[in-house]
Structure formats: C-alpha cells, structure tokens
C-alpha cells in the first residue's frame, strides 16, 4: 500500500509515475483519474466560495472516468483509505488542477498517436476534453 500520510503527496506521486510510462487504459492512469476525482470530496469542507468549482471539477472527472471505463471489463475503485480532507486548500487546488491538466495532455497525445484502435483513441480524446474542462474549473 502506498504512503497515505499526505493526499497532496499522492497527487504528486501520481503525476510523477505517469511521466515515465503512460498507458491510457493502464492501472496508473486509472488510479490517477480516480485520485483526482476523489479530491473533489474536499468541497464538503472548503471555503464556501470554492465549493462550486470543486463540485464541477468532480463532475467532469466522474464523466472522464465513466467515459474511459465504459468499454473496460473491470471497473476499478479507489481505496476508501485516502481522503483529501485536512489538506492545505490552496496547494490541493494547485496539485489537482495540475494533475488534471497533465492527464489531459497525456490522453490528448495518446488520442493523436498511432497506438490503439481508432475507437479507443476517440474515447481518450473525449477523456482529454473532460479533463481540460475539469482543470479550467480550478484555474
């Protein structure tokens, strides 16, 4: 099990892990998506003015996950043990938006590349679009 001492460090780790070897339907990518989606739970405890942005970020991430997993046989879940509550609000926002943007770039590259079927690449393009929208909500 990964170190769960800091949610922010998990986001940073996810981003770093993806830098090496990115497989759009792979475990690391899906973990990063689910981790980013879970971050939106902070809307429960964030300052009132930020709740709308977090909820919309969460909605876009949920759409991205649904889009990606629609044709996969084994939908995954994120362990319940990770929770963004208590993290520094500004840093969390920055890291979550950064991860979403990073993922959006990776999925967009995969969609424009040669690997995978055309249909699958279409899915990755849709995921990239959702991630762009999500990142915009926190910018």
């Amino acid at each position: 099990m990964a170190d769960m001492s800091s949610y922010i460090s998990l986001l940073k780790d996810a981003k770093r892990d993806l830098a090496g070897d990115f497989a759009p339907d792979g475990m690391l990518a899906r973990q990063a998506l689910l981790l980013a989606e879970r971050t939106a739970a902070v809307a429960d405890s964030c300052p009132p003015g930020q709740a709308a942005g977090w909820d919309m970020f969460g909605a876009y991430l949920a759409d991205a996950v649904a889009e990606l997993e629609a044709d996969l046989d084994d939908p995954a879940v994120l362990t319940q043990e990770v929770d963004p509550a208590g993290s520094d609000a500004d840093e969390l926002r920055e890291e979550a938006a950064g991860l979403a943007r990073w993922l959006a770039d990776l999925y967009a590259s995969a969609a424009a590349g040669e690997a995978g079927s055309g249909w699958r690449r279409l899915v990755w393009a849709a995921v990239a679009r959702r991630l762009d929208d999500a990142a915009a909500e926190l910018s």
């Binding site: 689910l34 709308a52 909820d55 909605a59």
Partner: protein, 526 residues
C-alpha cells in the same frame, strides 16, 4: 403552449364573438353555419373538460346516470352543470348523430367562435394526455395529482367561466335571431334549425346559474390545470440530449420526472449517481442565479445553497459506491440524459473558463433577471420529485437484487485502486441506507432554493393522496354540506384545507399505487 394559454385563447375568442355579434349580422349562411358548428363543438368540448376535471376518464360526454356513478361526490351544482351541458346540444346531436358537418370558419363571428372551440379542444387533448386514459396510469406527476382531484374546484371554475360565456352568447344569438335560417340557407338549413332549437331551449335550463355557482366555488387564477404543458416524451433519451433555452430546461426536468414515474423500476445505481451529480451542479448554478436576481440576503443564500449541495454531494458519493447489473455503456436513460443536459445548459450560460460570467452579460435587464429567476426556480422546484422518485426506484432495485455493493476486493500490489467483486446489497447495507436517507431528505417538501425564488413545487403524489383523502370525507358534516350546497371561494377553501387534514403524513402505500410497477413483492411474515 400550456393549458392556461389555450383556455385564455378560448376566452379571448368568446369575448370577440360576444362583442362582434352585438351589432354585426351574419355575413351569410356560411357564417351562420360556422357559428352553429362552433357552438356545438364548444359545448361538447367544455362538457368533456368538465368530465375530465371531475376525475372522469376520457370518453363520451357524461350522462346523468354516469354522473351518479362517479366515485367522488360532486357538489350538486357541478353535477347539474355537467348534465345540462349535454342538454345544450341534444337537438343538434340528434339531427347529426354521426358527425358535425365540416364548415370553413368564415365571417368575423364564425372565426372567433371557431378559434375558441379549437382552443378548448386543444386544452382537452393536453389534459387527457396527462390523465392517461381509461386503461393507463397518468404518465406525469401532475396528471396523478389532478386526476385524483387536486385543485378540482379551482380547475373547474375556469371551465365554468367559459360555459357562462357560451350561455351569454346563446342569449345574444337567440334575441337577435342571429342563427335563424333565411331563404338562402340551402344545405345548412337542417343544422341551423337544430342549433336554433337548442339555443331556444337554453333559457329553460339553469345552466348559466349552475355555471356561475361553480365558477364562484373556486379560484380559476390559481387553478393547477393551467400549468399543464404537453406531456414530455420519455421513451427516447436522445430527445433530451440538447437543451437550448430555459423553457427546454424545464421541459427536460419534467421528462426526467415523468420517466421516473413510469420507469423508475429500471433505475440503476449508476443513474442515481449521475442524476445526483447533475442535481449538485444545478444547485450551485441556481444559487448563483438567485444571488443576482433576488433580494435574498447573500449570506442566507450561500448557506442554503451549500446545505442543499452538501446533501446532493453526499447522495452522489454514496451512490458511487454501489453498482447495478448493467454495462456501463448502457447505463443511461431519459433521467440521466435530461438532467445532464440541464446542468450542461446552465453551465454553458453562466460559467466560462472556470469562473462565473459577469451578471451584466446574462441578467442585464429586469426582464432578463425575472426570466432567470423564474427558470431556475422552476428547475429547483422539480428536484425534490427527482429525489423522492429515485428513492422509490432504488428501493425497488434493492428488493429485486439489482443493487450491488463491494464484496471481496482484489488488491493490486502497492496501488491505491482495487478491483471489487460485486455482491447483492442487503437492505441493511450502510451506504444504501445512507443514500436512501439523503434522497428522502432531498425529496421532502419544496427545495429551499425554489422557496427563495418564490416557486411552488408542482403537484404530484402527495397532492393526489391528499385530494383523495379529502374527497372521501366530503360531505362529512352539516357545515360541509352547507358549504357544498352554497359555495363561495372562502367556503370551498375552508373545506379543502380543514384543520388537521392537509398536514397528515402521506401514506406510502397509497402513493405507491400511482406508480408504475414499483409495487414491492410481498414479504414473508406480512
């Protein structure tokens, strides 16, 4: 156009016909024939409308013995009005037993009265569609409430006002001998003779008096039937994929509600999660709009928005821990498509680049502010029905084994993601119980944001149950009998909202029977 628009058109047509027939003689026999046919159609249409609104199923105009067999007791003047409506065209019907002749609307009076008759029939079609017909359940929540008698006195008061106007027109046509056939009547002579005989008979009845009393027995301006829009199509989710205006957004909300009423037994955990997520997004937008279009204190508005949003967020997160036996790619319905489109439309109108667009761009004038306030209020007022019906559907899914929870987990090394085995969720499963509780809370009463917008929750199951309960208890006491015999708006309201009645809790079993096959399977030990 809704029923209120149609009835207003009918009133305008009648007003024109009354005014123009004062001094204007018929242009020729063709206009006389047009007026004669329109008069028959008007009475027939108003008779059908009265029957519908009294809770009788669509079909032929009621006869006296049908009225007596009706399940709810009507005040005497209403029964009399209904039977005399039929009498008003009995000679024309005998002369033309199969169908009325087709006469083009000609002449100013003929056109005005034809417009009125068309509008009444169009209103009847809308009402019938909501009520569902003889062998069908009402397809909408409003249909459930109104066909059970919700707002009956107010609804029928509108019809009675139109009946009174047609009776007035009869008097005018009779005194001026407007419909008497001349030498040139030709093929229209039998029609004109029959309708003339009906018109001469009208003063012998007390139709005008009964209509007047029925009109006084309710307040037409607040009749819930006026708000009935065309029944939304629910069988094709793609129909709701795009929302382009506030009006379409409200129609999409109604489609989602109607789908839940008819097909709530098909709901899945994924759909509850998606619908709750859309409701959460809507809630933020509704709160934001009200902040720019009402005088509500900003702090109070933020507090209410966050409170409602928190409940929807909790529902979203709880639903996300559950699954149903359906492939993810097939897990959509009119509910999720329509709510997603409404949320997307609000977002597209109000946000840009992660921030709120300046209010001056979308609510620069008082007219725009009023339109936005009305639109988001209507959207908000429909969300409690979505929650309440999702809860009922979810319970059905759980009982039928189509609600799954995480069972054994397959860990993946040092990864944070797990691959679960999904097993049937028990009734005592904590996340299921929590989700049910959240939806119950969100489905209770009106949405606080709709209250701030000044929009009432549309009538639905609760109103249907209340209306039926009230109907069973009338007449119950001497003063109620007196009120029924000598109605006044005050008396009528007192009877409906008698002490301790409207406040009683709604019985779940009574509500359940209005819903499509959500009846729970019999449980052992009951």
């Amino acid at each position: 156009m809704n029923v209120g628009d149609r009835l207003e058109d009918a009133a305008a047509g009648l007003a024109r016909a009354l005014a123009l027939s004062r001094r204007q003689p018929p242009i020729g026999p063709q206009e006389q024939a047009a007026v004669a046919v329109a008069r028959v159609r008007l009475y027939q249409g108003l008779g059908q409308q009265a029957a519908l609104l009294r809770g009788m199923l669509p079909g032929p105009i009621p006869r006296v013995r049908d009225v007596a067999a009706f399940r709810l007791p009507d005040p005497p003047q209403l029964s009399m009005m209904a039977s005399e409506l039929r009498e008003a065209t009995v000679r024309a019907a005998a002369a033309m037993p199969h169908r009325l002749p087709e006469v083009p609307a000609s002449g100013p009076v003929g056109r005005a009265l034809t417009d009125a008759a068309d509008a009444v029939h169009a209103a009847n079609e809308l009402i019938s569609a909501h009520f569902g017909g003889a062998r069908q359940r009402p397809p909408t929540l409003e249909g459930v409430a109104l066909s059970a008698g919700h707002g009956k006195d107010d609804n029928i008061a509108l019809t009675a006002r139109l009946v009174g106007a047609v009776v007035d027109l009869d008097v005018r046509l009779r005194l001026s001998r407007w419909l008497e056939p001349g030498e040139d009547a030709g093929v229209w002579r039998p029609l004109l003779l029959a309708v003339n005989a009906d018109i001469r008979h009208t003063p012998d009845t007390a139709l005008g008096v009964h209509a007047y009393r029925v009109a006084l027995g309710g307040a037409g301006d607040r009749a819930p039937v006026r708000a009935l829009e065309p029944v939304p199509l629910t069988d094709d989710p793609a129909r709701w994929a795009s929302v382009r205006s506030g009006r379409e957004a409200i129609a999409a909300m109604d489609a989602a509600r109607a789908w839940l009423l008819r097909h709530g037994d098909r709901i899945t955990a994924g759909q509850v999660a998606a619908a709750s997520r859309a409701a959460l997004v809507m809630t933020h937008h509704i709160g934001h709009v009200l902040g720019h279009t009402t005088d509500v204190d900003g702090g109070q508005l933020v507090e209410v928005t966050l409170k409602v949003g928190k409940d929807w967020r909790a529902a979203t997160m709880a639903a996300a821990t559950l699954r149903s036996n359906v492939r993810a790619r097939d897990d959509h319905s009119t509910l999720t498509v329509a709510l997603g489109a409404v949320a997307g439309w609000l977002h597209g109108q109000l946000r840009s680049d992660g921030g709120w667009r300046p209010a001056s761009e979308w609510a620069g004038s008082e007219r725009q502010r009023a339109a936005w306030r009305r639109t988001v209020g209507q959207i908000a007022a429909r969300l409690p029905d979505v929650a309440a019906l999702m809860r009922t559907g979810l319970q059905h899914a759980q009982r039928s084994g189509n609600l799954l929870r995480v069972g054994d987990l397959r860990q993946t090394g040092r990864m944070l993601i797990q691959f679960p085995q999904w097993v049937r969720a028990e009734e005592t499963h904590p996340q299921y119980g929590y989700l049910r509780g959240m939806l119950r809370r969100l489905g209770k009463g009106n949405n606080p944001l709709a209250v701030l917008a000044g929009v009432a929750r549309p009538p639905g199951l609760k109103e249907a149950a209340t209306a039926e309960r009230m109907a069973r208890s009338v007449p119950q006491s001497p003063w109620q009998l007196a009120a029924a015999g000598f109605p006044s708006p005050t008396d009528a309201r007192t009877v409906r909202a008698g002490p301790g009645r409207a406040d009683r809790p709604v019985e779940a079993a009574r509500l359940a029977r209005y819903q499509t096959p959500l009846s729970e399977p019999p449980r052992k030990g009951r």
